[in-house]
């Protein structure tokens, strides 16, 4: 069989974190009753007119700057015409001819440990569609326009990626940049970040691109990886069988691990773009551009360097903590309260990561508050609880965001550091374990560990292990 190379480009849609929709004053909040966040504009009522949300332009420019794009200082909107019930005007206001950002790119790390730039062809602003719910057994679909008009940016990459790993590295990098900018929370599962994959294959060594297909409905990194592998194989099979790849849009069914063509004879895919007459051009002056640049928040690389410098956090730890904006935010807020960056980092690096893995959770799903983690660190700093109790309390914080002070108090978990109480327990342990005492005295120093354990058990874990060790050694002399 011939050797094939996969050529991949992505179209990534990101819902921007504005309070209101792109062309009207309706809320973008999730969870309202169906059609409650709607008005004549975002439901395409006759005579309604769009007015552009300024914040959308600023977010789009911010993402463009952070991905090394050239900003189109005179950009315009166009109408993309197609009929679908989730598209209330039966046209989508988007940008074709003069998108707001062009010619950018971001650097990703490849599997081999090298670096590679994935080009960004353009970024444009557009409106999201409403939501369709399909009645499984009935004959109808139901339309909810709450998401209709939520602002999106579409980031169109160059066909620069060659594997699923590169695609995911690109998406993770993009997500990190956008999260750092605060432009979106980029949740794939909830659809605030969506990626369409354009894929073609060609024989290794050829210059020319093959015919590409576009895959939609990919809502996790795993689905993306599977879809890429599935589509690559499908295209190779076609070519090997002497058939041709048809340029088309395909919908990925992740459960069946299969994609099928979405095209029907009723969809001509001729969008008849033309300049949106209801909106005027957006002119981004040098001053405005400068303002947006100056407001640009600290991005990952800067933050990483600062953590190392300001908090003396090791390179590896700083790398992990800054790999996610939410995690970095928790780190900084907790550190600001307890002023103990090393311990904060430690809790995040070890216990938090362990629990995330155990619960199969994303970092974004961390619910605990920096206040409670800071309180926990204070309790351990003051030796009010020992480390095993602290771990137990942290699990509670992680799960339910409890107040550790109150929890320790209510459950009587405070470390017993009263010398008298400890001494009498230890005396009892020595009396009950003559064998271990004998071992210790005969030079098997490790036997003390068993005696410490027995003491901790008797104290229900609430003793300070250091003190236990000290008193034991003393009494065994």
């Amino acid at each position: 069989m011939k050797q094939y190379e996969t050529v991949i480009g992505l179209e990534v849609h990101v819902e921007l974190a504005t309070k209101t929709k792109i062309f009207c004053g309706c809320s973008t909040a999730f969870g309202g009753a169906e059609n409650s966040h709607t008005c004549p504009v975002c439901t395409g009522m006759p005579g309604s007119l769009p007015v552009l949300n300024k914040k959308v332009v600023e977010y789009a420019v911010a993402v463009g700057l952070a991905t090394n794009c050239t900003i189109t200082q005179n950009c315009k909107f166009d109408r993309k015409n197609y009929f679908y019930p989730d598209n209330p005007q039966n046209y989508q206001i988007s940008q074709l001819y003069l998108p707001i950002c062009r010619n950018g790119g971001i650097e990703i790390e490849t599997e081999e440990g090298g670096k590679k730039t994935v080009g960004i062809h353009e970024i444009h602003m557009e409106e999201d569609a409403g939501k369709l719910v399909h009645d499984e057994y009935g004959e109808n679909s139901l339309v909810d326009f709450n998401r209709s008009g939520v602002p999106l940016i579409e980031i169109v990459s160059e066909p620069d990626m060659r594997s699923a790993e590169e695609v995911i590295a690109y998406l993770e990098k993009l997500r990190l940049i956008i999260q750092y900018l605060g432009a979106s929370d980029c949740k794939l599962q909830e659809g605030s970040m969506r990626a369409d994959v354009n894929l073609s294959i060609r024989e290794v060594g050829t210059e020319e691109f093959g015919t590409r297909t576009e895959m939609k409905n990919l809502n996790s990194f795993k689905a993306i990886a599977r879809a890429i592998e599935g589509e690559r194989e499908r295209q190779i099979d076609l070519l090997e069988a002497g058939e041709k790849v048809v340029q088309e849009t395909r919908r990925w069914d992740d459960a069946k691990e299969y994609s099928y063509a979405m095209r029907s004879k009723e969809d001509a895919q001729d969008y008849r773009y033309f300049p949106e007459p209801d909106l005027v051009p957006v002119i981004i002056s040098d001053e405005w551009l400068k303002e947006i640049k100056e407001r640009q928040p600290e991005l990952r690389t800067e933050k990483l360097e600062r953590y190392k410098r300001e908090f003396q956090i090791p390179d590896y730890d700083a790398g992990i903590i800054t790999s996610n904006k939410h995690l970095a935010d928790i780190f900084e807020e907790t550190t600001a309260i307890c002023n103990n960056p090393k311990k904060v980092s430690n809790w995040l690096m070890v216990e938090t990561m362990r629990l995330l893995k155990e619960h199969e959770m994303e970092v974004e799903e961390i619910k605990f508050s920096p206040e409670n983690l800071a309180k926990l660190i204070k309790l351990t700093d003051e030796n009010q609880i020992n480390s095993s109790v602290a771990k137990e309390v942290f699990e509670k914080i992680f799960d339910e965001d409890i107040d550790p002070e109150q929890y320790v108090e209510e459950n009587g978990l405070r470390t017993v550091s009263d010398d008298g109480a400890l001494r009498s327990t230890i005396e009892k342990v020595i009396a009950e374990n003559p064998k271990s005492v004998e071992d210790y005295k005969s030079g098997k120093k490790k036997a003390i560990g068993f005696l410490v354990g027995q003491t901790m058990k008797a104290m229900q874990g609430k003793a300070d292990p250091g003190m236990v060790n000290k008193i034991l050694t003393e009494l065994l002399q």
Binding site: M45, G47, V51, Y91, R272, P277, D278, V280
Partner: protein
């Protein structure tokens, strides 16, 4: 003499002086409507009960000093493509035959703020596509001067209602001449303001880059007064313009001395009816006699305005009218199999022939492979036409010509030959392409007793110059009422 013989401003004064009550004025209008509607068919919807209730509120508002404007309490009719909250708004189309908006257009809100009493919604060419008001789903409107003739269009209902004195004034909309041409045919005064002067919010779009709402009235004074009320900068309309002047009535001076008027030779060539030509040139002479400097010049590009217009307007319309699909509002076919069949049947049954014709053309010129050749070409032509006007306005304050090449044709004569009908818009269309203000003022009757309209076009934001010229001309004209009003 009927109360309805008064102009809107005259009635407003009588209401203010408590000589006439708001209810009396409204009742008088409904009496006329009941008498004439059968012959004229100006209205799609008449809302007597609602209007009489409103009349009482306005009367109280006047007494309380809430409504202090010149037209407080004066009954008005609104073209049926402007949304009116709680009142059927159809665009004279089957597809909107059950549509009751939950919001009002900004122009209507401005009217209400000024104490207007809306008597009903006027008939029009379906979605404002037509020049005769014959494409209405609700039947043709007739010309009050001779009911065998069309009133013009698309604001034929508004113009006929004013001419038949079923109301004191009306709002119309003008995309390619839809206020000026029917005003000319009906012997009333209609003004299309500079693009962006009156908010388009709530105006059901035909050609978004060309549409503009304007007044239809009995005389120039009324027009200027109405324009002051409806013109406003509206944050809901991105193309709304914040103007420096809104004092249009300050131009109502009988003085045209030194005003430079240009007459485009291109407007007086082939296709222009001899009688229309004679009346319009006679009007020019009147203005010259009053001290205006009148001269002929070559405007150029006139014959390219219509093809450019139809490409742009139909392209925009094909997209604007896509929302009528049986999903959110309006007509949905009764019997269908699946989504696309529902779309196609609802739209095919809901739209009339002329609307379908324009949607098809508009979809075609935007389709893959034709966009550059048709749509961009038309936008380039539009730029050239704008340049030609810019050049003309370097020399002249006002451009004078006919509003339409003929007087009103007979009913049923126009629709069979669309291109011939489109040619009737030749003098009005370029003002829309270039965003310019234009006014049509009656300037006499032809031998059949049908009115002729004089059109004055001004530079952008220079409504006051055309109002001044129109007002000065009007002072010399004996006011004529349509036979239906006698």
């Amino acid at each position: 003499m009927s109360l309805l013989n008064l102009t809107a401003v005259e009635l407003g004064k009588k209401i203010k002086a408590s000589e006439v009550s708001v209810t009396e004025a409204a009742m008088a209008a409904f009496e006329e409507i009941e008498k004439k509607e059968e012959k004229v068919n100006s209205f799609v919807t008449v809302e007597k009960e609602k209007a009489l209730k409103r009349a009482e509120e306005v009367q109280k508002g006047i007494a309380d000093g809430i409504y202090t404007g010149p037209l407080a309490g004066v009954p008005v009719a609104v073209k049926d493509n402007m949304c009116t909250e709680g009142t059927l708004t159809t665009c004279s189309s089957k597809i909107l035959s059950n549509f009751v908006p939950t919001y009002s257009s900004e122009a209507v809100l401005n009217l209400l703020d000024a104490g207007a009493v809306i008597v009903g919604k006027t008939n029009m060419d379906e979605f404002a596509m037509g020049s005769t008001t014959e494409t209405s789903y609700y039947g043709a409107t007739k010309n009050p001067w001779n009911t065998e003739h069309v009133p013009g269009g698309s604001s034929g209902g508004s113009c006929a209602a004013v001419a038949a004195e079923e109301c004191f004034y009306a709002l119309g909309s003008d995309t390619g001449g839809s206020i000026r041409q029917p005003s000319s045919f009906c012997g009333v005064t209609g003004l299309k303001p500079t693009y962006g002067t009156v908010s388009r919010y709530g105006l059901i779009a035909y050609g978004s880059s060309l549409d503009q709402i304007g007044p239809v009235a009995k005389d120039v004074t009324d027009c200027a007064t109405i324009l002051e009320i409806i013109a406003s900068y509206d944050k809901k309309d991105s193309t709304s313009v914040k103007r420096e002047d809104y004092d249009f009535t300050s131009a109502l001076t009988d003085d045209v001395k030194g005003l430079k008027i240009g007459i485009p030779r291109d407007y007086f060539g082939e296709g222009l009816d001899a009688e229309v030509k004679e009346k319009v040139l006679a009007a020019a002479k009147v203005l010259e006699d009053k001290g205006a400097a009148v001269e002929e010049f070559d405007l150029s590009l006139v014959e390219y305005a219509i093809p450019a217009y139809y490409v742009i307007a139909c392209a925009e319309a094909s997209s604007n009218l896509a929302r009528f699909d049986g999903v959110k509002y309006g007509y949905r076919t009764e019997d269908y199999q699946g989504l696309h069949n529902m779309y196609k049947k609802s739209r095919s049954e809901g739209f009339g022939a002329e609307v379908k014709r324009r949607i098809m053309l508009g979809s075609f010129v935007l389709s893959s492979g034709y966009y550059d050749a048709y749509y961009l070409k038309a936008l380039r032509t539009k730029a050239l036409i704008k340049q030609a006007f810019d050049k003309a306005f370097e020399k002249y304050d006002v451009i004078l010509g006919p509003a339409a090449p003929t007087t009103a044709p007979k009913l049923g004569e126009s629709l069979d030959d669309p291109i011939q009908m489109y040619l009737g818009d030749i003098y009005t269309i370029s003002a829309n392409l270039a965003g310019l203000p234009g006014i049509s003022v009656p300037c006499g009757l032809d031998k059949n007793g049908l009115p002729v309209g004089l059109q004055l076009i001004g530079n952008c934001f220079e409504e006051k110059k055309i109002i001044r010229a129109a007002y000065a001309y009007e002072q010399t004209r004996e006011f004529t009422h349509s036979p239906l009003t006698e």
